[in-house]
């Protein structure tokens, strides 16, 4: 997306590649909206008009919702749309903002993402090995696929965090060169 950073060498190039991954995962998430509407409306029709409540819409519904917003997290970060209170932040120039982003993301948030991804991988592996099912409805599907999505979402988020860090580095280095 942000091709302005092309001039700043490999960090900019790598960041652009990562941004593309984020964009595709976001597009995939956005498309999940359609099945979500269909599943939800179908449940109303099945229950109220056909008189046969389904067994699977509830679980499929929450899985679609969860996947939708978890996968959407990375693209929201990329576009800078996670809410921030910018009373102070907006007073800094692009360089100052890059420093804040860089320090927070590299020192605090990236390690957090890596650790939580690791924990989610174990969480998935445990469900896979034990053959655990969700146990939330009569459908009762295996639990691991949805956990795999949680894991994948945080990995994708971590990759976008790396991209953001690289963008911040690019901003800082480009400016220095210009001076």
């Amino acid at each position: 997306m942000d091709f302005a950073n092309r001039n700043s060498g490999w960090p900019g190039t790598l960041a652009a590649h990562l941004d593309r991954v984020t964009l595709w995962s976001g597009a995939a998430a956005a498309l999940l909206f359609l099945p979500l509407v269909i599943v939800t409306v179908w449940e109303v029709i099945a229950r109220k008009i056909l008189g046969v409540p389904t067994t699977w819409t509830f679980e499929l519904g929450y899985m679609l919702t969860g996947t939708y917003f978890l996968l959407g997290g990375a693209v929201t970060l990329m576009r800078g749309e996670h809410v921030r209170i910018d009373l102070v932040y907006s007073q800094f120039g692009p360089r100052g903002q890059a420093v804040i982003d860089l320090v927070f993301l590299a020192v605090l948030f990236l390690p957090f993402c890596v650790l939580i991804s690791h924990a989610l991988f174990d969480y998935m592996a445990e469900a896979f090995a034990s053959g655990r099912t969700t146990g939330k409805s009569a459908w009762n599907p295996p639990a691991w696929p949805f956990r795999a999505i949680m894991f994948a979402s945080f990995v994708l988020l971590a990759l976008q965090v790396v991209a953001k860090i690289l963008h911040a580095v690019a901003v800082l280095t480009t400016k220095e060169r210009a001076r």
Binding site: F33, Y62, R84, D86, Y89, F104, L108, M150
Partner: protein
């Protein structure tokens, strides 16, 4: 030493937020770091708690209502329905004192009842209503106040995305809240209308009447036809969404799905449906949903860690030792939320404070639905209170340069007074919040 942790945790959160770190990420990280300290830097327990929270939040089907309502609003914004409504409403209110402002507020009410979100609605209304009001010589503060207040009605007039988040956090049924909002929402809207007409009568220079020589000569039958064409489709949609909730046919999630489908049908009716428009609305929906849900996720992580470091027990102790009457306690709670509204946006306010307040509210014997109504009114007020007044930010994004920030700040002040009046009415008569859900949903 350990008693300091909960306090430090909040300090750390606020420092991060004020440096401009994304709220969702600040919540996650400060929860994580302090959880880690509490468990002697043993990663396992805090990571276990957080994985559970991710699973819980992602497995909550009620939350599907968020993207569905957001999508409904995103499609409606782009459907051209606003132009139709504005035109139709003007036909009837044009010659009233303050007619343009009255029309703007009426349009805001209809729009608020057909979408669940605030920001974009305000932009749509503002873009339509500001130019004619300026042309007719309206006072700029009055214009700003009308747009900001009207735009913020989406919070307090059902359906509202705020309620979908608030309900589960406060452990109150979303259906009860949706129905309970109808009375306070109407009172507030009525107050706005009375105020605008009042200003126009007392200070006519602030809201000049249109030139009588330009009086429209449109036959009544044409007026009726235009109005019907503009009003019937949104009213049908409002009935479809709210009606299914009230009649108990569908859960809020399902009503939201019906609303999403209805919005698309409506756009088809106004011939504005296109692939580009749907793609646009689809992206917007994803971004807004992820934004809301990540704060929700971060908030639940922060709360569970806050519990681990003993913050909740400690806070209960402090509040329990206060030894004040329940009414004073309530006033303190509302005051805290009001002050927090200066600096935080609504999701953070709800996620941080409601879980702490709710047990006290229940213990004191207050009706939880009523308490939630008061909170909603304050949350809606926080849209209008500087320095962090989202309503003013949105307005600044669309207003022509001759409307200054001072006009905007001055413009919201009278509406803040109206908020206070409405809050006082609701606080004095809890029945206003609980009566309608009792009648319609029979709990």
């Amino acid at each position: 030493m350990m008693e300091l942790l909960p306090v430090l945790m909040f300090v750390c959160l606020f420092v991060l937020i004020f440096c401009g770190v994304q709220v969702a990420l600040a919540l996650m990280v400060s929860g994580f770091v302090f959880g880690l300290i509490e468990f002697d830097f043993n990663l396992r327990p805090i990571l276990f708690q957080f994985t559970q929270k991710i699973d819980e939040t992602a497995s909550n089907f009620v939350l599907a209502a968020v993207p569905l309502f957001v999508f409904m609003g995103a499609v409606l914004e782009r459907s051209g329905i606003a132009e139709q409504l504005f035109r139709a409403v003007q036909l009837w209110t044009g010659r009233l004192p303050g007619g343009l402002a009255v029309g703007t507020i009426l349009m805001s009410i209809i729009f608020a009842a057909s979408t669940g979100v605030v920001g974009a609605t305000e932009a749509v209304i503002g873009l339509l209503a500001i130019p004619p009001m300026l042309r007719q010589g309206y006072d700029k503060s009055l214009i700003s106040g009308t747009i900001c207040a009207g735009g913020s009605l989406g919070t307090i007039i059902p359906p509202s995305v705020v309620v979908i988040i608030l309900g589960p956090v406060a452990d109150v049924s979303i259906g009860d809240l949706m129905v309970g909002m109808i009375v306070p929402g109407s009172i507030l809207a009525l107050l706005y209308l009375v105020y605008v007409v009042g200003v126009a009568v007392v200070q006519p220079h602030k809201a000049p009447r249109p030139d009588p020589s330009l009086a429209d000569s449109m036959p009544l039958i044409d007026k009726l036809w235009i109005s019907l064409k503009a009003l019937i489709p949104p009213l049908l949609m409002i009935c479809a969404v709210l009606g299914t909730i009230i009649a108990g046919v569908a859960a809020p999630t399902e009503a939201a799905a019906i609303g999403a489908v209805a919005a698309v049908v409506l756009a088809g009716f106004y011939r504005t449906l296109s692939l580009t428009m749907l793609k646009d609305a689809g992206w917007r929906t994803l971004i807004v949903t992820a934004m809301i849900m990540f704060v929700l996720l971060g908030g639940s992580m922060f709360t569970v860690a806050f519990g681990s470091v003993g913050g909740i027990t400690q806070l209960r102790g402090v509040l329990g030792d206060l030894d004040v009457s329940p009414a004073v306690m309530l006033a303190i709670f509302l005051g805290i939320v009001f002050v927090a509204g200066f600096f935080l946006e609504w999701i953070s306010i709800i996620l941080i404070f409601i879980p702490i307040f709710m047990p006290f509210v229940r213990d004191a014997g207050f009706d939880p639905v009523w308490f939630c109504m008061l909170i909603l009114l304050i949350v809606q007020t926080s849209y209008l209170t500087p320095p962090l007044a989202p309503a003013i930010f949105y307005l600044r994004g669309i207003a022509p340069p001759e409307m200054t920030l001072t006009d905007m700040y001055r413009g919201v002040v009278p509406f803040l007074v109206l908020q206070a009046i409405c809050l006082a009415i609701m606080a004095a008569f809890p029945g206003l919040a609980t009566w309608l859900p009792g009648v319609l949903l029979g709990f």
